[in-house]
């Protein structure tokens, strides 16, 4: 079978342990909102969507407001800079998951003009100098692919305190 293989059978306390992998190809439709968000990233622009009732600007954008259940269509450009809300420096390695090599940082960045934060990687930064409130800006991928890593990471704005 292509999608499931028992690779190895071993013994523990006289009992058998079967070891394998599950590999299941999948397709995810991004939907109208995320498709447009990624189209914006191609032009190095970050768009959010405003809830007409709550007035909240959500970045990344989504189709439905979680608060008032409104249908969202009101696009607004945000940034290009934002503010670091919280962060962590990761010290363990998980090569199949992590796009950067440890130690690296994750942060939540609230873009100027947005009311929600974007979770992302932090690069080109002195990890010991990271702090809440730091001004950040996106570093874009040279050849966008239509996914979240079209922003490679956020970096501190030069000269920012």
């Amino acid at each position: 079978m292509e999608n499931e293989t028992i690779l190895e059978v071993r013994e523990k306390d006289g009992l058998l342990i079967l070891q394998g992998v599950i590999r299941v190809p999948y397709t995810w439709a991004a939907g109208a909102v995320a498709s447009r968000f990624y189209a914006g990233l191609r032009d190095r622009r970050i768009y959010g969507i405003r809830c007409p009732t709550c007035r909240l600007v959500m970045v990344p954008p989504k189709k439905t407001c979680h608060r008032c259940f409104g249908d969202l269509n009101d696009w607004v450009e945000v940034g290009p800079e934002g503010t670091l809300q919280t962060f962590t420096v990761v010290h363990y390695s998980e090569p199949e998951l992590h796009p950067l090599r440890a130690p690296f940082a994750y942060g939540i960045i609230k873009m100027d003009g947005a009311d929600t934060g974007m979770t992302h990687l932090i690069g080109e930064a002195d990890q010991r100098a990271l702090k809440e409130g730091l001004r950040m800006t996106a570093v874009f991928r040279d050849k966008p692919e239509g996914n979240y890593l079209d922003i490679r990471y956020f970096k501190p704005v030069k000269g920012a305190k």
Partner: protein
């Protein structure tokens, strides 16, 4: 609310790399719960199981495992979430008037899957899954946000780990009993700042089952019933950036609803013992606040005061908590099982003397997106 009781509980020891398979584990807990209640499977009217297809490594995992919880020939359903939510579902079925008794079971063998990869799959495939976050790195964002806003120190978080691993030494079911100091926690390897190895919960395999019964059916059980006084569940936004990570409004909402049902107006005075979902040490401090055990931002001071230690006015996690045994979706049900043991006076060396009102708490999702709060009494 019509009175519903927990009339039986059963659980396995929690440990890594158990050689029993899913069904064998589930059967062990279910059989123990029936024996504890002094009833037979023929007395069980319906079954609620708890599975996670990714952790079980199979689709519709409930179909394969439910037999071991007594599903054959019965109405059986399943929850993909924490065991406190399965129990909530079981309570509703018991209250429906259709069923007099409900078997609620949960099992998980976290050690058999790839926990970091599986948790990463909980992130949005359209957006942030590609960042490679898992439970530790995402919780680190929450820990930092919480500690930063309220001035909570790493030492105060470490105190939770010291307390709970210490309590686990009195719990034969716990996976990681430890005699450690704040220094040991502080010196343990840094994983994702500010979370260190000893601030995290272990990878545990195990199963737990509880039996719920209407008042009439509870009278036929062998055990003194433990009554459900109040239950509520509440969800936050999915995305981390859309939540207030430093303060869980859904927890406060769930707690207030559960307290109202239970007639509790001063939780810190009226609750004798609490079992909360401390997947990471900082979480216990946050949950103190959301549960109203102290004011907002006072979680650090509460652990410092000793109130939540064994012998304090409100011992929290006498079992050792999730920090000492974390079989993911089993962990909330294990909190209810421990609350029942405490209210029966059967908690052995970790018994809170004279406990009359107990709280059990479960969470679901990344950084505890959902909270379920239970109030029980004897």
């Amino acid at each position: 609310m019509e009175r519903v009781a927990v009339v039986g509980i059963g659980q396995t020891k929690y440990e890594k790399g158990k050689t029993k398979n899913f069904a064998e584990l589930s059967y062990e807990a279910t059989r123990k719960a029936l024996d504890d209640a002094g009833i037979e499977l023929s007395d069980i009217d319906n079954v609620v199981t708890t599975t996670n297809d990714f952790f079980d490594g199979r689709t519709i995992a409930c179909m394969a495992v439910a037999e071991a919880a007594g599903s054959y020939g019965r109405d059986a359903t399943n929850v993909e979430g924490d065991g406190t939510l399965s129990a909530f579902y079981g309570l509703m079925r018991t209250l429906s008037g259709v069923y007099g008794t409900t078997m609620v079971s949960a099992h998980c063998k976290v050690s058999e899957g790839s926990p970091r990869k599986i948790v990463n799959q909980a992130f949005d495939p359209i957006y942030d899954r590609l960042l490679g976050m898992d439970a530790i790195s995402s919780s680190a964002l929450q820990a930092r946000a919480y500690m930063q806003r309220f001035g909570i120190t790493e030492e105060q978080c470490a105190r939770v780990s010291v307390k709970n691993h210490g309590n686990a030494r009195n719990n034969p079911y716990a996976h990681v009993p430890l005699d450690i100091t704040v220094d040991d926690v502080m010196r343990s390897p840094m994983l994702a700042e500010p979370i260190k190895r000893l601030d995290t919960s272990p990878i545990s395999d195990g199963a737990c089952a509880i039996i719920l019964a209407t008042e009439e059916r509870a009278r036929r059980a062998a055990r003194k019933p433990v009554w459900i006084r109040g239950v509520a569940h509440c969800a936050d936004a999915y995305r981390l950036g859309e939540r207030d990570l430093a303060w869980s409004q859904p927890l406060e909402t769930a707690a207030r609803k559960a307290y109202r049902m239970a007639g509790i107006s001063h939780p810190s005075r009226e609750i004798d013992v609490a079992e909360v979902y401390d997947a990471f040490s900082y979480m216990e401090l946050m949950w103190y606040e959301g549960l109203g055990f102290c004011d907002r931002g006072e979680g650090g001071r509460l652990i410092d005061s000793g109130v939540t230690q064994m012998g304090g006015k409100l011992p929290v996690n006498p079992s050792g908590g999730v920090l000492s045994a974390h079989s993911v979706q089993v962990a909330g049900l294990a909190r209810i099982a421990e609350a029942v043991l405490q209210l029966r006076g059967e908690a052995g060396k970790r018994q809170v003397p004279g406990a009359r009102v107990a709280l059990a708490h479960g969470t679901g999702g990344i950084c505890a997106q959902t909270h379920c709060v239970w109030v029980l009494s004897n």
